[in-house]
């Protein structure tokens, strides 16, 4: 049991970070607004979302690419290989945990 719990990733303990990662797993990339729309049910503020993104970025789980569309800044978020592996490991641990009941 302890072993399984160790495999649960601390970065994904927070629901919003887990949701961000889920969305990036199945999309090539998403921009800030697309992420915000997806997380609409959480009633999240821009600042709050930005800090969760920063947290995942610091863990090297997502990659940020800044560019301009005309004069408007546009930021794209990608899941990194490391992030994908971590997410899959976390999912596997969750499954194991639930099967163990």
């Amino acid at each position: 049991m302890k072993e399984v719990l160790q495999n649960l990733d601390k970065a994904f303990e927070n629901n919003i970070r887990l949701a961000i990662m889920s969305a990036l797993m199945v999309n090539d990339y998403l921009d800030f607004n697309a992420l915000k729309d997806l997380l609409n049910p959480f009633n999240i503020t821009d600042g709050n979302l930005a800090s969760h993104i920063k947290h995942l970025e610091n863990a090297n789980y997502i990659r940020v690419e800044k560019s301009f569309v005309g004069r408007k800044p546009n930021t794209k978020y990608y899941a990194t290989t490391q992030g994908r592996q971590a997410f899959e490991q976390h999912l596997a641990a969750l499954e194991k945990l639930l099967k163990g009941i």
Binding site: N15, A19, S22, L30, A34, D37
Partner: protein, 206 residues
């Protein structure tokens, strides 16, 4: 207690993955109405073609947009505009009701994947028309529309892929029985849309 949180987590992951890749605001009612417009349009086309004082077929070969053919074009364009307009409007309402936006990355993906085969088909059909292959026009519209649905189905309700496959089959049937074009057209764009819309309403919106 911890376990129920993990269980919720899994559900949430699933829902976000689905919502972020699939466009689920497509309204079932839009399909039903599009089918009704197509049937009404087909009825007018039938009257235009079969109760006309001149033989349309000859008129079409003489000039590209002769006065005899124009009403048929308008008929088709009105049906198309109404169907597209209704779909956008009802999908917008469905998205708003669910607290979501209509214009999401998933919606763009559906639109792009639907439009490429459809525009290709539209242009190809125009070429058929210009070269006088009238007997293949209905088949061409049905087949390319079916391919467009099949392609778009990867990014919205997968049921729409089945609709696409049936449209393709009806298109081939129309190619084999050229004299019955309008009938197949009414079947493919009218009846089939209504049946599909009812099934979708039953399955997802009830």
């Amino acid at each position: 207690m911890e376990n129920s949180k993990h269980f919720d987590d899994l559900g949430q992951i699933r829902s976000i993955m689905e919502r972020s890749t699939k466009f689920l605001s497509l309204s079932a009612w839009a399909a039903i109405l599009a089918g009704v417009y197509a049937l009404i349009g087909a009825f007018f086309a039938y009257r235009l073609i079969y109760f006309a004082p001149v033989v349309r077929y000859r008129a079409m070969t003489e000039s590209l947009f002769s006065p005899e053919v124009l009403p048929l074009f308008f008929d088709a364009i009105i049906v198309l505009a109404l169907a597209v307009g209704t779909t956008v409007w009802l999908s917008y309402r469905k998205a708003r009701k669910a607290g979501q936006k209509l214009w999401t990355p998933a919606a763009i993906r559906v639109l792009v994947n639907f439009s490429i085969p459809l525009v290709t088909g539209g242009l190809f059909t125009l070429v058929l028309y210009m070269n006088g292959y009238f007997s293949l026009i209905v088949a061409s519209t049905l087949i390319f529309y079916g391919l467009a649905l099949l392609n778009a189905g990867n990014f919205t309700f997968s049921d729409i892929r089945k609709l696409g496959m049936i449209e393709i089959l009806i298109g081939f049937a129309a190619a084999l029985f050229p004299g019955k074009g309008l009938l197949f057209w009414a079947l493919g764009f009218g009846v089939l849309h209504i049946v599909y819309g009812i099934i979708m309403y039953w399955k997802y919106e009830r």
